[in-house]
């Protein structure tokens, strides 16, 4: 890695003001950032790294006023092991427990997991070998190149890299709010596709908390993931489903540049009993708008089946 300065922030205010001054980025778990710095894939190299781990009071999980509140600095392993999350916010607990490897779950935070940059082997190739759209270039190399792991729902701002987070679709399915230092954002609107960023956040804006409305009695949620290996790997496709009050919220990820809410599938399953016939129809509806590329047609079938399985898991848990 190239040289940078390092600041242990002791408060949110200190961190945000440090981020205003020079080309600075912040580090929490560091599991995505350090790889990016080693490969030098960012358009500019940061002069200052601001450590958020030294800020007290960003690591908590508790229910309060009809909301589950999770500090942005809470480690994925702690979320996965939390009994309240496992019982009432099952999709999030399962997602936090399936992300990456046990080591990374102990290091990586929820705020970092949802803010991690896209995965695309052209974008992530070391030393900026491919000057793609996400680095201010003019070409998407994956469109004509090897796109077996890329979007099946088209491009956003010309980019077809997928967002790889496991917790993101769970947060969308559970209708979460993401609180930052400047505002509170509905989970669905949190992601964007920009140069060197995958969120709508400003460069000096930090996620501080994730809030999830407490589900009604009888509501269920589930998360399923398809990856090459059981552990370590990013998802080929993942899906999170929330079923409650006769309606469903269904979100897929790793299929598009942003977590993809399958509204057509939600309409198909709304008000119906969750059995294999209806879930099959919902799965088909989830992939109805898909436009696969040359090498990723197989992901359409996986997406259909994952929606089906996640729905059935909600039914069997009821």
């Amino acid at each position: 890695m190239r040289r940078f300065d390092h600041l242990n922030a002791t408060s949110i205010q200190e961190a945000t003001s440090a981020l205003k001054n020079k080309s600075a980025v912040f580090i929490a778990g560091g599991t995505d950032l350090i790889g990016r710095l080693k490969d030098e894939i960012l358009p500019g190299y940061p002069e200052l790294i601001v450590n958020l781990k030294t800020i007290q009071g960003l690591d908590y999980v508790h229910e309060e006023g009809g909301l589950l509140k999770i500090g942005a600095g809470t480690r994925l392993a702690d979320i996965a092991a939390d009994p309240i999350v496992r019982l009432r916010y099952t999709a999030l607990g399962q997602a936090a427990g399936r992300a990456a490897s046990p080591h990374i779950r102990r290091m990586g935070t929820l705020g970092g997991n949802i803010s991690q940059l896209h995965r695309c082997w052209y974008f992530r190739a070391p030393q900026n070998r491919f000057e793609c759209l996400r680095k201010g270039g003019k070409t998407c190399f994956a469109l004509a190149g090897d796109n077996r792991y890329h979007s099946i729902f088209g491009a956003v701002n010309g980019c077809i890299a997928v967002h790889p987070s496991d917790t993101a679709p769970s947060l969308v399915a559970l209708d979460a709010r993401i609180k930052t230092t400047k505002r509170t954002i509905i989970a669905e609107d949190f992601w964007d596709v920009r140069v060197a960023s995958c969120t709508v956040l400003d460069t000096d804006e930090i996620v501080t908390e994730v809030q999830i409305p407490a589900p009604d009695v009888g509501a269920r949620s589930a998360f399923v993931k398809f990856a090459l290996r059981k552990s370590i790997d990013f998802p080929i496709v993942n899906a999170a489903v929330f079923v409650g009050g006769g309606a469903a919220r269904i979100c897929l990820n790793a299929v598009a540049p942003k977590p993809y809410r399958a509204t057509k599938a939600e309409q198909v399953i709304a008000g119906k009993s969750i059995d294999s016939r209806n879930t099959g129809a919902a799965g088909a509806a989830a992939a109805a708008d898909s436009r696969p590329l040359e090498a990723n047609r197989y992901k359409v079938q996986i997406a259909k089946v994952l929606v089906e399985r996640a729905l059935l898991e909600c039914a069997s848990a009821a």
């Binding site: 890695m1 599991t31 350090i34 790294i49 046990p102």
Partner: protein
């Protein structure tokens, strides 16, 4: 046959490596005064080589005999360069080190402290070969900045190997031949030690879950589980 002799050698005779270490210690302990003999654990820790570059200035590469001299040099020669001076607590020993903010913990352990056990393999946090225990939890030292480790307790494979309590784990690895090239083994053993600290009576599923972040290109996975389960038994029996 040769293998058996080597194994016996560690109990009955004195192996070449042990002889060299002990000879070195004989000199060292003579200087410290009579009556003090290091334990086997301390000997093993001391066997870690002290690197020549330990007190080299990171800016102009000048070398110094002591840490204090380096600090003094830095204050006068490079007053505007931020170079963190920190103390890392590794295997229950405090090491004063001068580090660069961009150094990973793995680099610092290897090149500053001479502890070569935590290996660089993928260097991207995917394989687990660089696993060390930070404040009781296994973590990837290739993806941890050394500057963020001040005040934390770090445990490496060297510390585990030096602690006779963990002999059953290492013996079980040898007995079950749970390695081929051996490059990933330190990462596996450190992860296993953290698991057994937390859960002295794991099931095979627990072991597999705990090791799910360690990759072995030689694919000795079933043997890891066998060895660790047997080690857990041995540790419970106090062998």
């Amino acid at each position: 046959m040769v293998k058996e002799e080597e194994q016996n050698g560690s109990e009955k005779g004195v192996s070449r490596r042990e002889f060299l270490t002990q000879a070195g210690w004989a000199l060292g302990s003579a200087a410290l005064g009579a009556g003090w003999t290091p334990s086997a654990d301390e000997r093993a820790l001391q066997a870690a080589p002290e690197f020549e570059s330990k007190y080299a200035c990171p800016v102009d590469a000048q070398k110094f005999a002591t840490f204090e001299e380096l600090q003094a040099h830095f204050a006068t020669a490079h007053p505007h360069v931020a170079a963190p001076v920190t103390t890392l607590r590794v295997n229950e020993r405090d090491y004063p080190v001068q580090i660069e903010p961009q150094w990973t913990l793995q680099q610092t352990l290897q090149f500053k402290l001479g502890l070569t056990g935590a290996k660089t393999m993928c260097d991207r946090g995917e394989c687990g070969s660089c696993t060390v225990i930070i404040d009781g939890k296994p973590a990837l030292s290739c993806t941890t900045l050394a500057v963020e480790c001040e005040g934390k307790s770090i445990e490496t494979i060297e510390g585990i190997a030096a602690n006779s309590r963990w002999n059953p784990l290492i013996q079980a690895y040898m007995k079950h031949d749970a390695m081929q090239c051996g490059y990933c083994t330190p990462g596996f053993i450190v992860t296993a030690k953290a698991l057994l600290d937390k859960n002295p009576n794991p099931t095979e599923e627990d072991v597999r879950q705990a090791l799910a972040g360690n990759l072995c290109r030689c694919s000795t996975y079933p043997r890891h589980a066998k060895a660790i389960l047997e080690a857990a038994q041995g540790l419970r029996d106090g062998k």
